[in-house]
Symmetry: C2
Subunit: 343 residues, 2 copies
């Protein structure tokens, strides 16, 4: 953790250098760079030419310092190695680019400890706002950080004043799945969860239980984690229990795929013997080889809304908190079918 090698700085040309070369004052160069008017065209061209010849590049640090504002927004990604966040991030990036914002990413590595440290880093870089993807940090700590900077939380329900939330409508998602399966005649629908240590998984499980009860069905929950192993182990648990459900609702696609693999190994056919439904509608689900029925989350919409809300808040156009729940849709593919007739 000690100080790393003091890296020699490359001397880059400054406005002063450009000014000297163009034979004008530095402030004029600044004016030209900012695109200010009231500058003679000839002079402007001379300045731009000099800048180009010198390979001048404005110093974003100094600019932010002087303007006391930055066009960079910090993005905290809970788990970079999770493809889901990759897709999410891509959408954010697209939106940010359109709004002329720079993104500064703090790469989470599933170590909750470091999340606070990463936020510190981002804030030290004077980001104008924060975008948190499924943060696992405690609400109380969150509140402390968010008082400093406009914040939008994505994928997790929090109720911290001054923080906006964009998330999926979990209740609807679960209902879509359960109703779809029920309509196919399924009554014993098990849910393999994404763990008990993160909100999204807990929310999803709660939504599942509610949806089941609404249909007069008995919830049947098996603990898991957001990974193929979770699905595999979940199925093993179910198999050991003896009495199998006729359908499995997995907390995400990875779990679903893991579950299908385990079912096939056990000699069970999907969907003839058992239906499986995933969640996220990731790239994985749409592969011909997998062709998984899944809940689709409109990520583009996520990105749009999140950036929009953040900009609004950064502009100080709003005070309270807003929570946007985006409606997911169900994509029916080949892993869900009629309930087998084993009554």
């Amino acid at each position: 953790m000690g100080d790393p090698t003091p890296f020699a700085a490359q001397p880059r040309p400054t406005q002063q250098d450009v000014a000297r070369r163009a034979g004008v004052s530095r402030a004029l160069v600044s004016l030209v760079m900012r695109g200010g008017d009231h500058v003679a065209t000839a002079t402007r061209d001379r300045v731009l030419k000099a800048a180009d010849e010198l390979g001048y590049r404005p110093n974003a640090l100094a600019r932010s310092l002087a303007r006391r504002q930055s066009r960079a927004i910090g993005v905290l990604i809970n788990d970079v190695s999770n493809p889901y966040f990759g897709g999410m991030y891509a959408c954010l990036a697209r939106e940010a680019e359109r709004s002329g914002l720079d993104l500064l990413v703090a790469p989470g590595l599933r170590t909750p400890r470091s999340e606070a440290g990463l936020l510190d880093t981002l804030l030290e870089h004077q980001v104008a706002g924060l975008l948190l993807l499924s943060p696992t940090i405690r609400e109380s700590s969150l509140a402390a950080y968010c008082s400093t900077s406009p914040t939008v939380v994505i994928g997790r329900e929090v109720s911290v004043s001054g923080v906006d939330v964009v998330t999926i409508d979990e209740a609807l998602g679960a209902r879509l799945v359960v109703n779809h399966l029920a309509a196919l005649g399924h009554e014993r629908i098990a849910h393999i969860t994404g763990g008990s240590d993160n909100r999204p998984a807990l929310d999803r499980a709660a939504a599942y239980r509610q949806a089941m009860r609404d249909l007069g069905l008995t919830p049947d929950q098996v603990p898991g984690v957001f990974a193929p192993e979770g699905g595999r182990d979940g199925v093993r648990t179910l198999l050991q229990r003896g009495e199998l459900p006729t359908a499995i609702f997995a907390a995400n696609d990875l779990i679903a795929v893991g579950a299908i693999g385990a079912l096939r190994s056990a000699g069970l056919r999907v969907p003839e013997d058992l239906s499986v439904v995933g969640y996220d509608d990731s790239q994985l689900a749409s592969l011909d080889l997998v062709d998984l029925t899944s809940v689709h989350q409109p990520l583009e919409r996520f990105g749009q809304l999140a950036v929009e809300l953040l900009i609004e808040r950064m502009a100080g156009r709003r005070q309270g908190s807003r929570t946007e729940r985006i409606a997911p849709t169900l994509v029916v593919r080949s892993t869900s079918g009629p309930a087998p007739d084993r009554s």
Copy 2:
């Protein structure tokens, strides 16, 4: 593209504020923050306490400006939505964290146009170094950027003086695949490429052809793209051609999975009728459901080496260029088997 709303800056406490509260001069606060010695313990504690009470957070911008160096390094990701880069990035992040470096990510969106713009952004943020993941930018432009800043290119062979390269040993990778298949009795081994517009795909294809020729086999190349559709279309092409190969070497896992899907749809069994081998050994390949034979790239090693080289160069400890080719390994799973006997 116009100027976005001028975001009101949050007034954050400065060293000056801390100094006032602690009843000392600002410079002393600076000294304490830097961890300098020759400060009375009592005074130091008073300063730290004041900083804590005020919620003071050092301004990384001002620090970088004053020290004329930054501990941030810029990472250019060619295509954020590609899971491969997500994994790669995770490894880089881990390494960077250990070295006390901040990562600033420019999210590429497959639009080659923007790559230069992204590099500009990074450089304007005064990054101390650049890490480029499979950049598609021209070598000449690359040279211009890299003269400004220490640079390490990952996943693409470039010969620009002053730029280090960390990449996979494509020749070895292709040989592993071809030899493996040949040892299983395959002679007609087709290669579905990753396109003709990017180096890695071209390199991989060239390595394939060489490996085939070395064994006295005839290369058989089908154009594709780095996506499941590439595999699907590649297989269709092969099917239309009439004479099928007995094995397919896909340029990456996504292609392989797409190919397998298409083969199954055509009523062909893998690996009984046709073997399929992928490349990358992504999470996808190791799924029970897929269980794809693939070429494993030790990403951790990539990350380590890249960061290591970059640090060396940033410290000015080296001048020339170095190219490190990392040896991949073959992970044999269930999609490759003995060649069918249809002579």
